[in-house]
Amino acid sequence: MSKLVVSAIGPASSVQDGGRVGAQRYGLTPSGAMDRLALAAANCLAGNALFAPGIEVGPFGVAFTARDGAVRLGLAGAPRNADAAGRGIAWDTSVTLADGETLKLGMARGGSFSYLAIEGGIAGEPMFGSLAVNARAGLGSPYPRPLQAGDELRVAAASSAAERRIDLPAAAGGPIRVVMGPQDDEFARDEIDLFLGSEWKISATSDRMGYRLEGPVTRHLHGHNIVSDGTVNGSIQIPGNGQPIVLMPDRGTSGGYPKIATVITADFGRFAQIPAGTGFRFKAVSMAEAQAEARKFAELLRSLPNRLRPIESFDLNIDALQDANVAGAAVSAVDAGTWQIPSPAGALTQDQSGQRPYSKRTRT
């Protein structure tokens, strides 16, 4: 068995998986990854089940070191500069660390959370079928708290599988879609129009329990107290001060503030990735549209294994990377210090020009 040692880490990084189902009736929140698609993509790269436990890495830089053997990792989610023992590592790929090698990840760009999946998963003791950290309930394994420097995760020894990259569809833009309710009737039409018509920003005081939104004050028709009822990921509650809080996977299972609307399943991960201070808007959609989008999202998750592509030994073709960048990648293709290959680069391999983003100069 190998170990993955946390060499350096910031706050808000923890082991997460698909979360726990079935104990909300006892007040136990599901927890689990903030961005399920990104966790699933990372797991796919590592050859794991889509919702196997992985490391959810918060916005700041981190470093992990392989000990007692090699460790194979899948990287997905918010892109970062990645460096494995001096080798530049493209995002949305798998990478193997030899014993003693360190993977350094820079700050998240264009998002908040990145996911590090480990081939074979993480050894731990599941509680209600999950290793996901829920610090308030003392749950999570191997550590029932966010990761700290010096923590050691016992992981499987790396296989000799070839490294892969994953072709993800270009990130959807546009407003965050919501279904109105369950308590939109606690708000006047004008207030709902203001809610849907305004630009919002996520406050820096947000966390895995809830994202506080900054924007206009939303007023209630009948006061801000309702008799507590159940909550879901994406419930948008309006407390007494009129500043919305969007409930995230570590939310309380019930709440006593009116919930004006709910973020749709297909947009929840994209919402969770919006960095503090970045403006965005909401858009109301019908239940039929939200459920059609939820089915499409489930289909996308199922399709992930078919989106894996081989990586060949390559040299970097700067021109192709810059083309990829122009083609709409959200990140700069060529960063100071480390190579970055934005995920849509792979799409260019099917380009009619036949030009590949990676030249093979070193192989000839």
């Binding site: 189902v21 079935g22 104990a23 909300q24 009736r25 006892y26 007040g27 136990l28 509680m127 308030r136 309930a137 003392g138 749950l139 279904v179 109105m180 309710g181 369950p182 308590q183 309702i226 008799v227 507590s228 009822d229 159940g230 909550t231 879901v232 990921n233 994406g234 419930s235 309380g252 299972t253 019930s254 709440g255 919930k259 709910t262 973020v263 749709i264 399943t265 239940m287 939200a290 459920q291 989008e293 939820a294 089915r295 489930a298």
Partner: protein
Amino acid sequence: MAAPLSPPRLLPSGDSAITVEFSRNIDDAANRRVLALDRRLAREPIAGVTETVPTYRSLLVHYDPTQVDFDALGEKLLELAHQPLPRSEKTRRWRVPVAYGGEHGIDLEDVAKTLRTTPDDIVARHIAGDYRVAMIGFTPGWSYLSGLHESLHLPRRQNPRLLTPAGTISIGGVQTGIQCLAGPSGWHLLGRTPVRTYQLHRDPIFLLEPGDRVSFYVIDAKTFVEQDRAAAGGEIIAELMAA
């Protein structure tokens, strides 16, 4: 000669959950219907339903929209909710020990003053109650009990406390409750129980179920310490009464 049951409201909680709302208020009759629907769904599962969460006045039904859509599920839930309530349900009855007042219940004296009576009288009224677990929520094991005597109804504190002890027994509004983990609370703290309603590595991890009946009895500070130690070691402490 039961009055006809009015249909609950089906409120969308996003694309993967329906709130089946029986009342907007804390309402014992509504809570009974919530728990009855919850039990029916446990007995006769609907394909696609993943989890149910009973609260005072509504049942939150989580589901997988790739298996069943809002309209189809809503129709089935209305059908189930329309069935008459069972005449009697077997419920479990628990007796829960409480150390009242002093350091265990720092608001007991104030509550007595506010209600113009003695702390002993408040305790007598509280242990006279026959309570039902109306819902468990907020944090793991936090059990909201209905059945608080009217003479103990008090508005919540103006300034909620950020940290109240594990095992706190408190009253707030028309409710009383057992709080398992230390955490914030705006309720009036009457005492503490050594009983853990949530404890990892114990079978069962969660002691109480929505619908269970609960009554309280008095223990002294010394007994609290002994029972607290035993509870930390995994003992259940609360007594389960013969049905």
